[in-house]
Symmetry: C2
Subunit: 318 residues, 2 copies
């Protein structure tokens, strides 16, 4: 079973719980507590699979683990609050390592209003950090993956591909330019923007770009029962040029993972309101295309030709 | 750093979060949400460290992972509600394995009123299941580790040692008697009893026996700033005799891990109320001794001699 198959299996398998607004299959599970909704998410990072200590210091490893989870709460439009850490170590941890890792983790959480409140440490064959994060939102003020309708416009919150470019350079033993390095080691979860889009009802569907634009867009489309048409030239690239990469820049933006930008759809009649709200936050809109009926994902090239694409992204089991 | 040193490091390191009633250092973190308190806990099981598939089927592995976490919520007196699972696999999981594991996990959660609502699957070098569990309680109706006072009586909710005895037999390739097998593979978290003790204000301090009676009692004492005197003869044993074990039966009750009984202290003036309440639940009281001033843990033998004991329990890093 691939990762997506496991997730679909979980979705089919799990019965609905009392008070559960949204179960597996979105960035967070959502639980109804009356006037507040709680958002629950968990994400893990395993040494040798998701990172290497050859380019991650313990401090940035802590920050990245926080960011990955904060981004899931951001993608629903929530406010992160409390985190639980489970840390597996192959050998008793060094105090320096633990301090640096926790300083990274807690500083990143605190920057977005969240706090580490507990957890567990265990022995294991590889260094593995699992974080469970709890966020909150006003009841109803949450954006799911499944709200996109034909005609809605597709936006992404910032240029894409920087994290995957940095990863390739790290893996070759090279030193990426500083902004790319930061995009991979210390990505910025879009907590503020996510809240604005949810609280002001601007987005009809949303998720974060964690496994590549096309793969994540195909998830949004599947959840909403729609298709999408993306203009290739409209996909914003993290850099204009960068020597030493094995593939065209555009590939990193379309297929590269771990950008943690927000990908969201906006009803056409709200585009003006969105643009003026983004301007007030000094943020630039990046409109990629539009939602269409059907289930296909079409990539339209500059010459007007449209090609159906398969969302080959990053799969941990591929 | 040993596991206890890591936990103490975390306690010192982590600043207090807004709304946080209790941080790391108890069975759950406790968060104030107005009229309800939420209890947050996370516990992991790693293949080769916490279990072997030579004696765990996937179904019972799921039930055990649920039980370990349910017991943490029980130990605060809470009602379990929502769980997040992170599952690491060395290879793409088989559908049969996943189904059996999830059936075990979700059936055990459901038996205590809790539901799996989300999570993450990742590739990793060993099979590892991490569960984060969220429980709730009425504001203030929670029992911490730190409330024991000199003169309080010490109780345990049921006989001890069965899980550690079964584990030794499993590891020798033998087949333990059914009740012992069940104690290790499918332990019963004391959710109902924990709630009664908390809601009716009967216990002054409480935790669950996860790492051995003496080790966990020493944690309760350290948290409360007190000592304890335990009558060795009063410690209830899971079995009267069992051939083939390497150590005296009493050692398994004093030092054996994973019993998941509740260990709690009761002010002397509430002993009568406790006994009558336990009788109404058809539960037997097991009084072990009493809390004393100072910080020592004394084990009093049948001949009246008291020996200071060191809480040698189960340490994952030992």
């Amino acid at each position: 079973m691939t990762e997506d198959e496991v997730i679909r299996f979980l979705e089919r398998f799990l019965p609905s719980a009392p008070g559960l607004v949204q179960g597996p299959g979105d960035d967070c599970a959502v639980v109804d507590l009356g006037d507040r909704w709680w958002l629950l998410t968990a994400d893990a990072m395993v040494e040798g699979v998701h990172f290497s200590l050859s380019y991650f210091t313990p401090y940035f490893l802590g920050r990245k683990l926080a960011a990955v989870n904060l981004s899931d709460v951001a993608a629903m439009g929530g406010q992160p609050r409390f985190a639980l850490l489970t840390l597996a170590f192959p050998a008793p941890p060094e105090e320096d390592f633990l301090r640096d890792f926790l300083e990274g983790l807690t500083s990143k959480l605190a920057a977005y209003g969240a706090h580490l409140v507990g957890g567990d440490t265990v022995k294991g064959p590889a260094l593995q950090g699992d974080l469970a994060l709890i966020g909150e939102a006003a009841a109803g003020a949450v954006v799911f993956r499944q709200g996109a309708r034909p005609g809605d416009l597709i936006f992404v919150s910032r240029p894409l591909g920087a994290s995957a470019m940095a990863l390739e350079l790290f893996q070759k033993g090279e030193d990426p330019p500083e902004p790319l390095k930061r995009a991979h080691l210390d990505p910025e979860p879009e907590v503020e923007l996510g809240r604005v889009l949810a609280e002001e009802g601007l987005a009809s569907a949303m998720l974060d770009v964690s496994d590549g634009l096309l793969k994540d867009l195909s998830r949004l489309c599947r959840a909403s029962g729609v298709g999408a048409e993306v203009e290739e030239e409209a996909v914003p690239l993290a850099v204009d040029e960068l020597p030493g990469l094995s593939r065209p820049l555009r590939d990193y933006a379309l297929f590269g993972g771990e950008d943690f930008a927000l990908l969201f759809t906006v009803p056409r009649e709200k585009e003006r309101a969105l643009r003026s709200r983004l301007a007030s936050l000094s943020r630039k809109p990046h409109r990629l295309g539009r939602i269409v009926p059907g289930e296909k994902l079409l990539l339209r090239r500059a010459d007007g030709a449209a090609e159906e694409v398969s969302p080959e992204g990053f799969d941990h089991f591929a």
